[in-house]
């Protein structure tokens, strides 16, 4: 059997997650030895059509053309993996999902009719079957390499599902909420970043999306007790993973609560 063929594809995104592969400087040439990178427009002018053994998908679906394009990539790919918050949860651009996209387009473009966009920014899994999701804004390059290695070895890729809190304990970071009263999404956010923010004296802002079985209501209750308004608590969940179901649901509940108070 020849080397497995890898394709890297981009939708609406910042390029940061596919850059994580190029940023794996120490392993990059080794990866290129064992995998045939046949389609990676950011890195190579050699663009082969499918079939692909592994497809890495960055970015969310925001245009009618992209909604079509992902279907073809799915047909061409044996194992399709999404990388990053845009591909797994719609990304920061999903903030427009609850708003008026036409109004947003008019705010930004003089002639919005030149450009076709969908009302919603959606995760890849809402369009095609996804075999594995790697979370993060951006993804962690060590996790990416581990997933590629496990695929080559024929085992199921595993990434942790526990919350950021556990990683703070591992690092020996004193809890910023307990010690300094700083609001932090660590208890409800999936680990993967190595709990960076608390080690820089700021609260986690949820780059990796909801952890497994997050108790969001309990966390909100605490932050409201500490003096947050429901609007502020809702707002904290509305960023890079705003459309991840658990974050979306809780931010809606808090928004409704804020509305009732007014």
């Amino acid at each position: 059997m020849g080397k497995p063929k890898l394709g890297v594809f981009k939708f609406a995104s910042c390029d940061g997650c596919q850059l994580s592969l190029l940023d794996a400087e120490d392993q990059l040439l080794a990866v290129a030895e064992v995998i045939d990178i046949v389609h990676f427009p950011e890195a190579s002018s050699r663009l082969e059509s499918g079939p692909y053994d592994i497809a890495l998908i960055e970015g969310s679906i925001t245009t009618p053309h992209d909604a079509e394009r992902i279907q073809q990539i799915r047909r061409d790919s044996k194992f399709l993996m999404t990388i990053g918050a845009c591909a797994t949860a719609g990304g920061i651009q999903a903030l427009r999902n609850g708003a008026d996209t036409t109004e947003f387009m008019q705010a930004v473009y003089a002639t919005p009719e030149y450009i076709q966009v969908l009302d919603q920014s959606t995760a890849i899994a809402e369009h095609v079957k996804v075999d594995f999701e790697l979370r993060g804004c951006p993804i962690n390059q060590y996790q990416l390499i581990e997933v590629i290695q496990s695929l080559l070895a024929g085992r199921t890729p595993r990434t942790p599902k526990h919350s950021v809190c556990l990683d703070c304990k591992r690092r020996g970071t004193v809890c910023v909420t307990v010690a300094q009263g700083i609001a932090c999404l660590g208890p409800v956010t999936q680990s993967g970043c190595d709990a960076i923010c608390p080690s820089y004296h700021r609260g986690c802002y949820g780059c990796y999306g909801p952890a497994a079985q997050p108790n969001l209501v309990s966390l909100s209750t605490q932050t409201l007790k500490a003096g947050d308004s429901p609007a502020e608590a809702a707002h904290r969940l509305q960023n890079f993973n705003v459309s991840a179901p658990a974050f979306h649901q809780e931010s809606q509940r808090l928004t409704d609560q804020a509305r009732e108070q007014n």
């Binding site: 609406a12 390029d15 400087e25 050699r46 990304g91 966009v117 804004c137 820089y200 004296h201």
Partner: protein
């Protein structure tokens, strides 16, 4: 030869998604279109109503390759709106962070994206088989840039430590000093790399009458402060940015075309513009090398931007070393501020050129209006203008070859298409 078209469906080795469309009539060029079909993400609209503290985290997500530039322009603009002045220590650390981004971004572009064009490879990875030493050296330089952003910013892509007023925490003396040995090695490696790229075979082509624009500062190589200078001799205060430049929407692109209002002509930003206008403020090693390789005092060959990137990497290493070796950091990690309604503007030098931000904030610290003008959308009209001239040099019956040479020129500008797809204040429509 009658009418024919040349189409590059997907521009490769650039950040983001774009294509190229060229229509010829015999030997004459009818039309050239750099087609940016990257989906718009509407950041300026998304920011409205958010607390100003969110801005550096959100605007970083415009581009994974140059998030520091977005963070720097945004915090400076917001500090202007809040009338906050940061300490010299914070200012120095911000330059240090910027050095990291220049090393990482220029290192990536030079070795993995651009050098393959000169040596006839499809990618840097393929080039590594014949040029292992050069590619490995390039990867190591790129890694140093990432390590520096990681140390000071918390992580290399979308740093978390930058905030309005300064940093969430200052790095420790130990964290800072740890980088010094690698950076000492890197400075010499950067000099070798730049000598190597300067030895490439450059096409004999000059961009005709191109106006170069960059920030300029009396004592520093421009990075995060200064006034705008132009190669035609003008000085423009950043506060007058929107009065001097105009963005136009064109049907074939989600990115804008920028021109100077006074001339109605496009202009070029980026490393070549910075070197052309500020060569005497480069670090000693970078100046020495520029003289050694006999770089023209005003270099108008866009293909030579790879040399300008090399010189800027040398500069960034030398400046970073100076800051890393400095006395222990003291003082507050950030300045405190009170909310007040206001408007703030700032421009800093992203790896690809001047990046302008303007914000209006209300008395509660919420964003009322945001305007972001990225370098690639400003360079786009100049890229098309240069392509029109370049085609006459490379036109041949072999369309693939012609397309490849056109792609090579586009890549020389390192267009970052992910960044370029948003703007505000469009005033004229052109069809």
């Amino acid at each position: 030869m009658g009418n024919r078209t040349i189409k590059v469906e997907t521009l490769t080795r650039v950040e983001g998604e774009g294509g190229l469309y060229i229509r010829l009539n015999g030997e004459a060029v009818d039309e050239v279109r750099l087609e940016i079909y990257e989906p718009p993400r509407l950041f300026e609209a998304l920011l409205r109503g958010r607390p100003l503290e969110d801005v550096p985290d959100i605007t970083a997500r415009i581009c994974g390759i140059c998030p520091v530039a977005y963070q720097m322009s945004s915090v400076h603009a917001l500090e202007a709106a809040l009338e906050v002045t940061v300490s010299p220590e914070i200012r120095r650390l911000r330059r240090l962070l910027y050095c990291g981004e220049w090393i990482e971004s220029h290192g990536l572009h030079m070795h993995l994206l651009h050098a393959p064009d000169f040596l006839g490879f499809d990618s840097g990875l393929e080039m590594a088989k014949q040029f292992p030493e050069e590619v490995n050296r390039g990867l190591r330089l790129k890694k140093h840039g990432n390590q520096l952003v990681d140390m000071l910013g918390g992580r290399a892509i979308h740093p978390i430590n930058v905030c309005v007023g300064g940093f969430y925490r200052l790095p420790t003396r130990k964290e800072v000093q740890k980088l010094i040995p690698d950076f000492e090695w890197g400075l010499n490696a950067a000099i070798e790399t730049t000598r190597w790229v300067a030895s490439f075979d450059f096409p004999d082509f000059e961009s005709p009458d191109c106006e170069y624009i960059s920030l300029s500062h009396p004592d520093e190589y421009p990075m995060n402060a200064g006034v705008m200078k132009t190669s035609s001799g003008d000085t423009i205060d950043v506060a007058n940015y929107e009065a001097e430049f105009e963005e136009l929407q064109v049907p074939h692109s989600t990115a804008l075309h920028a021109i100077r209002k006074s001339t109605g002509r496009p202009y070029l930003l980026g490393p070549l513009a910075r070197i052309n206008l500020n060569r005497d403020r480069l670090s000693p090693s970078a100046q020495k090398l520029a003289d050694e390789i006999k770089l023209e005092p005003v270099c108008c060959n866009p293909h030579k931007a790879i040399i300008a990137r090399g010189l800027e990497i040398i500069h960034a290493y030398e400046e970073a070393l100076m800051i890393l070796r400095d006395q222990p950091l003291k003082g507050k990690s950030r300045e405190s501020y009170e909310y007040q309604a206001g408007k703030g503007m700032s421009a800093t030098e992203a790896p690809r050129g001047t990046l302008f931000h303007r914000y209006i904030v209300d008395k509660d610290g919420k964003i009322v209006e945001a305007s972001i003008v990225p370098p690639t959308s400003q360079n786009q009209a100049q890229i098309e203008a240069d392509l029109k001239q370049w085609i006459s040099h490379v036109i041949s019956k072999d369309e693939r070859e012609t397309a490849r040479k056109c792609e090579n020129l586009v890549r020389a500008y390192d267009p970052c298409i992910s960044c370029s797809t948003h703007f505000l204040n469009v005033k004229i429509e052109r069809t």
